[in-house]
Symmetry: C2
DNA sequence: TCGGTGGTTTACGTTAACGTCAGGTTACGC
DNA sequence: GCGTAACCTGACGTTAACGTAAACCACCGA
């Protein structure tokens, strides 16, 4: 092992005058992959599907990932492992979440009128509720599953107490 | 559509003297697939991997599935969709559950001594607890996920109330 | 300035979980 | 007894989500 995670993440001098703090913390694809614990190939693949695009590139064309980019990837993995969604379905979820973020922006905008604001909020609420329903369904099923397991455990424990 | 589900499941006269009720209710692979809502190919594939073997065959070699067989397949699908396990991992879980069933048998056996019974019960308990841990972990993650969604919804609702 | 490490695109390879097709066999209603 | 629908066993095809290799290019420390 020539380079470890700490080496990969540690960037050039962050004090270079003129560069914003956020800019200094952009990660290369190797560092990003190391931090996230996934492969570089996966990151490129997600980008190919339009799921995450690194916020910047170096003049030479190398990908630079921001903290926000990493969070997005984390989100992808969560939606994969927790909800069992495939990448196409995840793309939809992410688009919805992007839309919510967009709504948040419009909301901050001074020019947005009150009735339009209400409209935006209820749209955001609906998008949110949409995902919630999916998650809630899964949770309910899991809870039942867990209850079954616990019931079995209880029977075994009862038998154990009846023994000695 | 020439044959529907009801046709497929409805078997020959169940009153044929000499045949047990359970025997009369064995399903062909087509009927089983229809009831379960999966493909025949999937059933054959699961068998190939040693996950479910139909309890019987006709003299001519055609598969016959019992109610218990169907439950086992349902279990497989549950482990797939809820826990996101692959079929190899599911094979392990099923082997553990089979072992628990075996333990239950030994337990009913008169010849099993008291110390051995205790041993069997704690083995069953451990196997059960094993699966429980997996499920519980998933549930915790899902709960957190759901909490995040609810928090967002709350923020949106608060903004909505602050409007009019 | 230059060597080595790391990154880029392009393209073909891999694995799990089936889908589908071919060619022959069995079950069942009439 | 007979036709046909359902089933059998291979065997090859497919799709998602990457893995891997090749050939070329960027960056950075000495």
């Amino acid at each position: 092992m020539s380079g470890n995670l700490a080496d990969a993440v540690r960037d050039g001098p962050p004090g270079a005058p003129g560069t914003l703090a956020a800019e200094a913390r952009l990660l290369s694809i190797g560092a990003a992959a190391a931090v996230l614990g996934i492969s570089e190939r996966a990151l490129r693949y997600y980008q190919q599907l339009g799921l995450v695009t690194p916020c910047a590139r170096t003049p030479g064309g190398m990908r630079r990932y921001s903290e926000e980019d990493l969070e997005r990837v984390t989100r992808i993995r969560e939606l994969q492992s927790l909800l069992g969604l495939n990448l196409d379905e995840i793309a939809v979820v992410l688009r919805h979440e992007d839309r919510v973020a967009e709504i948040r922006q419009s909301f901050r905008d001074e020019r947005t009128g009150a009735p339009e604001r209400a409209e935006l909020l209820s749209e955001a609420l609906e998008l949110n509720e949409n995902l919630r329903a999916t998650v809630e369904a899964k949770r309910a099923a899991l809870d039942k599953f867990l209850a079954d397991i616990d019931a079995r455990a209880e029977k075994i424990r009862a038998a154990l107490e009846a023994l000695p």
